[in-house]
Each structure stands twice: as C-alpha cells, then as structure tokens.
C-alpha cells in the first residue's frame, strides 16, 4: 500500500499486519541535521498517540508518536550510528521501527498523500 501520514509528520506503510514507520521529508527538513534517535523498545506495545521515541537534531528534539496501536517488532539499529540517514533518505533507509498492528483500520483514518500535501503545502 502507499504511505499514510500523521499530523505529527510521521509516515507509515503497511505490509500485512506489519507497519513500517518513519518521519517525512518535511519533518527532517524542518529539524535539520539529525544527530540522535531514541528508538522504541522491541516487544513493547503502544497505543496510537503514545510517545514512542525521539528524533534529535542540532536545533531541537522532536517526539515521535505511535500512529496506531501495536507491538514494536523491529527497530532500525543502523540509525544508532548513522542518524543522518533520516535526513538523506527519510522514506527509505531512514525508517525508524516496525510495529505489528493490533487495530489495522486505525491506519485507514490517517492522511493519504494528497491530504498530507494539502496539510503541509510548504513540503
């Protein structure tokens, strides 16, 4: 499926019941050079809207929130040494974590590409 977007500038793609989550190009551009990512814990469950990690740039720290209910199944450990990958490839190698969705339809309620573009016309 194509990506869905949150108002907090996260993206999520879903394959079966596994969602892959990252931050949008707009978010990385606003933050500037990303120097540290506080990754979530594998095996931990979150509700939609729970704080799940932090992306820190030279300028600011931005919390990231779970876009839907689920259990974290994998984290992108490569970001621990190379957090700047979020700047260079936010929608690809800069993915942050994978989450096993327990309430899949929640994702349908998020913005699609057109809606996100309308939400962030500067992006």
């Amino acid at each position: 499926m194509s990506a869905k977007f949150t108002e907090n500038d996260e993206w999520i793609t879903v394959d079966g019941e596994i969602g892959t989550v990252g931050v949008t190009s707009y978010a990385q551009d606003q933050l500037g050079d990303i120097v540290y990512v506080e990754l979530p814990t594998v095996g931990k469950t979150y509700k939609a809207g729970d704080e799940i990690g932090v992306v820190e740039s030279v300028k600011a720290a931005a919390e990231i929130f779970a876009p839907a209910d689920g259990e974290v199944t994998e984290i992108n450990a490569a970001l621990e040494d190379k957090p700047g990958v979020i700047n260079s490839d936010p929608a690809g190698d800069g993915w942050i974590y994978k989450i096993k969705l327990s309430n899949g339809p929640q994702v349908d309620g998020l913005m699609d590409d057109a809606a996100y573009k309308a939400f962030r016309p500067d992006a």
Binding site: D9, L31, D33, V35, V54, V58, K59
Partner: protein
Amino acid sequence: MPRPERSDMSAPAQALRQTELHSLHTELGARMVAFAGYDMPVQFPDGIVAEHLHTREFCSVFDVSHMGQALLRVEGGGFGVTAAALETLIPGDIQGLAPGAMRYSLLLNEAGGIVDDIIVTRLPAADGWSGDDLLLVVNAARKQGDFTYIANSIPQAKLTPLVDRALLAVQGPTAAKALADLFPHAAEKLANLPFMHTVSVVDGGHEMLISRSGYTGEDGFEISAENGAVEQCALRLLALPGVAPAGLGARDSLRLESGYCLYGHDIDETTSPVEAGLIWAIAKARRETGGFPGAERIMGELANGPRRRRVGLMPEGKSIVRDGATICDQSGLDIGIVTSGAYGPTVGGPVAMGYVRADVSVLGQELFLSGRTKPVSAQIVKLPFVAARIFRGGRTA
C-alpha cells in the same frame, strides 16, 4: 513536529530588521530565523553540521552585521582620557592598548553583573581613523541598551553608532589564505597581523577595518566594511575555492565547543566575571584597585571565591542536553543549571556549559543533568572542548 527554529530575543516578525546581505542570504538558500530583532540565516543548504566542520577545516563567511559597532571619543581629550572614561564601566585595561590593539571586556552594572561582553579596539591611526578613538563591538540584542548605558554613564564621551557599517567574520584555518587572495596589496600585513589586532585596508576605494579575531576558536578575521561595500566583499570571498557561507547555527556550535560565552545564556546581568570564569578579562592592577561598577562584589569574590562557577559539562551518551536543564548531584539535590547545550560536530556528541555551586565545581565531578525523560550522567570537564588554533604571530597556536 515542533518548528525548531530558535527565536530567542526576537522582535515580532513584521518588525524584523535586515542586514545589508539579506538578499544574498536568500539567494544562497539560507533558512532565516529571527535573532535579536534581525532576520538572520541560521543555516545554508549544507546544514549546520557541514558548516561547522567546514569552518574547522577550511574557511567560512558569517554575516555578523547585526552586532553593534560604535566609536567612542572624549572630544579634545586624547586617547588616555577616552580610555579612562570607558574604564569606569569595564574592568579591563584600555589605557594600555597600543593603536590597533583590541581587548575582550565586560560592561558591568553596579551589582557586578555583566551588562554585555564587548570588544574594545584602539583604532589604528590610518585612512581617516584616529588612534585617539575606540571602536566598540557589542552584541546585537544588547546594543541599544549598551549605547544608552554608556552615553548616560560617561556623558563627557561622544558615542557614535556606526549604522552605515556591516561586519563579516571570515573564520577557519584557510581564512588567512582567503584574505591574502582577496586583498593582495595588503597580504603581508594581514598575514602578520597577530590575534586581537586591527589594521585598516583600503580596497577599491573602500576603507575597511580588518581584525584578527573571532568566535570560533579557529584562526580568522572580522571585516568591518561600509554597507555599500560589504556585498561585493562577501561575493568575492565566496567565489574563492574552499570558502563557504555559514549561519548562526554553526556559529553557536563552534563557540560552544571553544568554550566561549553566549550573552543571555552563559552570562547575563546576574552573573559576575568571577562566576563566569572571565577573571582574565579583569586587568591585574584593577583586581586590587577596583574603580569599575560592582567592584565590591567582584573583589570580594576574587578574595573569597564566588557562590557558583561556570563549568564545562560532558554528558554521557548521545542525547543532547540543552540550556535550561537542571544540574543535580548524586543525591538528586539541585546544584545548578545548564546555560548552553548542543551537539558538538567536532566532538561528535553532546557538549554543554552551565553553572554549579562553587564547592562542587571540580574537574571530574560526576553529576546529573535533567534530560527530556530521565536524568543524564555528566562530568565536569575542562573548557574548551576543542583547543583554539588562533594566530598569535609567527605561529598558529
């Protein structure tokens, strides 16, 4: 995501002032932020980390035209009288300055707090400048207040803000090469110019005051030029190989790694020079004789020690501790506050400065900084984080 741009000390957006290089910044793709009432570039497309590292390795050009520049003179008094007048407001030795020499100093209030940190230059007697005059360079956010304070405190002196002048900082190990290329007719005098000295250079009919100074810890120069000449100067610098523009973001991380204070964060009207570790800015003779505002407190702190001290802080791990974080001892007792905290690109991790109770301000002291969610372990370390490589004449120190 929050909009991360810092806009401390800013005026409302519609009232923002612009420097002479504003349109150049925009053309170069700068991201602009409100700073001290000016619309200033925080970064260019390369980004803060790249600009910081470029400055440490090559040469960057910073627009610092928002800073205040003013001439100070006591009419008919000569240099000694002007210098003595200014010395009633600062603890430094100004009367001892030779023509062209500069000094970092502190404008003080009656409570011994710091009104501003300023650079005082005895102008070289050349190209229309008088060696009887002092040039003051003050912080952008403080300039109005500084100028009023000086004018009111020493009314016998005439203070003339140089509103028709801009200021460029050209910083980095290849800055001397860049200036030699830019001003071939003055190359030798610029190459031999020692740190904290100023010369006058005339280029294309425009007179410029060029000092060997800066705020990055690297060798470098600051060029005070007429507004009408600064854009051409900046464009010619940026056309040189290895020279790139840098914004206020890199300027901040460079100065923090170099252990320099940022006014409004690491020093303010409540901090004394002794607390801030700026005793070197108090002239030796004046530590005994005083004669500057707040001398009672400052001389008392020199004799008995201050209540708190500014220290370098090295947080453990990778999370960035930012200014405003609380400093606690092992038992959780509040012992101070972080006044600057950021990612240090040359260090490759978080760096910080702050104030701690004097009795715990010991190198190696373990303490905790309040993090975003949990306390972060940190250690008091020697400043600077990155050793200065300024040019003292003859060699690069």
